[in-house]
């Protein structure tokens, strides 16, 4: 039992290496977006989902309701993870496992042949600790950077992050078509001064494209 936990903790090192830079960037971006040290740390401690945290800090100053909807919408993909894990192994500490079920924890768990809940908890321990400590580090660096650098440069971090996420998401031609469609739509809406609603409309376009793609493959 404890050995499985240690295996999970050991394997979480691959997650830790990936999480720390992102968490540092999150801490920096949150400070640049006007979040306090406390708010930034609480965001990472309670939400523990990178992409939605970035969307939240990016959109909250435009509209808090809008930010909540978008940040939550992006996290709906986690539904699939919980489902798949519950089929793969018996989990008694569901409350704890659910808290740490991120993309990376899921990816490592689902690849393991003999999966146990203690292994998953080991993974979560490493991932969560690195995420929160990376955020603390980023927040501290952010406070220093704000004093010595242009704040507008820090705001670019969010754009850079979204682009980094997007390029790693692209898998096929359909993804590229979707990106081109959404880019055109967002640009048109922006020209009419209603660019802020494009993140809400874009999932509908994605749905339509998925339907067209499905009909064509059938």
């Amino acid at each position: 039992m404890f050995r499985e936990y240690l295996y999970g903790l050991r394997d979480s090192l691959t997650i830790v290496v990936g999480y720390i830079p992102v968490a540092v960037v999150f801490g920096l971006s949150a400070i640049a977006s006007g979040f306090t040290f406390f708010e930034t740390i609480i965001t990472s401690m309670l939400i523990f989902a990178g992409m939605s945290q970035f969307i939240l800090i990016n959109m909250i100053n435009i509209s808090p309701i809008y930010a909540i909807i978008l940040a939550s919408l992006v996290n709906l993909r986690h539904i699939v993870y919980g489902y798949a894990l519950s089929r793969k192994c018996s989990i008694s500490k569901k409350i704890l496992v659910a808290f740490g079920l991120t993309d990376e924890v899921y990816a490592l768990s689902i690849c393991r042949e003999k999966l146990t809940e203690h292994y998953i908890i080991g993974l979560i321990t490493g991932a969560y600790t690195s995420w929160v400590s990376g955020t603390v580090l980023g927040t501290l660096i952010g406070n220093v950077l704000l004093k010595i650098m242009f704040i507008s440069n820090l705001k670019f971090i969010l754009i850079a992050l979204f682009i980094s996420i997007l390029v790693l998401y692209i898998e096929n031609v359909k993804d590229i078509i979707l990106i081109l469609l959404i880019s055109s739509l967002s640009a048109i809406l922006y020209m009419f001064n209603i660019g802020e609603i494009s993140p809400l409309i874009s999932p509908i376009i994605a749905l339509i494209l998925e339907k067209i793609y499905k009909c064509r493959t059938i």
């Binding site: 609480i42 939605s52 539904i79 519950s86």
Partner: protein
């Protein structure tokens, strides 16, 4: 000073995120898995991120702020090209940020020297 709206938004997103993870874990055996749902959720994520990028970068190009538009374009290209070798989001972001900041500093130096 702590912003109460920020705290409320953080708590709501945290609850929704937790439920999205917990409910399928709890009732997974009763649900039917569908690859289509996974695909749709993935496409929606791509769509939201794309629109967020576009509405963030368009103001820079619209105002034709050369000191921002040039570093922005070069750093976006750098991220796209580097992503072929590096798959870590954090490292890609930091590379893009460093390139953006360096080019901006260089451009501002150039402007101050020429003026």
């Amino acid at each position: 000073m702590i912003n109460i709206i920020h705290i409320i938004a953080i708590v709501i997103v945290a609850i929704i995120t937790y439920l999205a993870r917990y409910i399928p874990l709890k009732h997974g055996e009763k649900l039917t898995h569908s690859n289509e749902i996974s695909r749709i959720l993935r496409s929606c994520t791509i769509a939201i991120i794309t629109s967020l990028i576009i509405i963030s970068i368009l103001p820079t190009y619209e105002k034709l702020e050369i000191s921002k538009a040039i570093p922005l374009t070069i750093s976006i290209l750098a991220i796209v090209l580097t992503s072929r070798k590096i798959n870590n989001i954090g490292i890609l972001t930091i590379i893009g940020f460093i390139i953006y900041t360096l080019i901006r500093i260089l451009l501002e130096l150039e402007i101050s020297i020429s003026s």
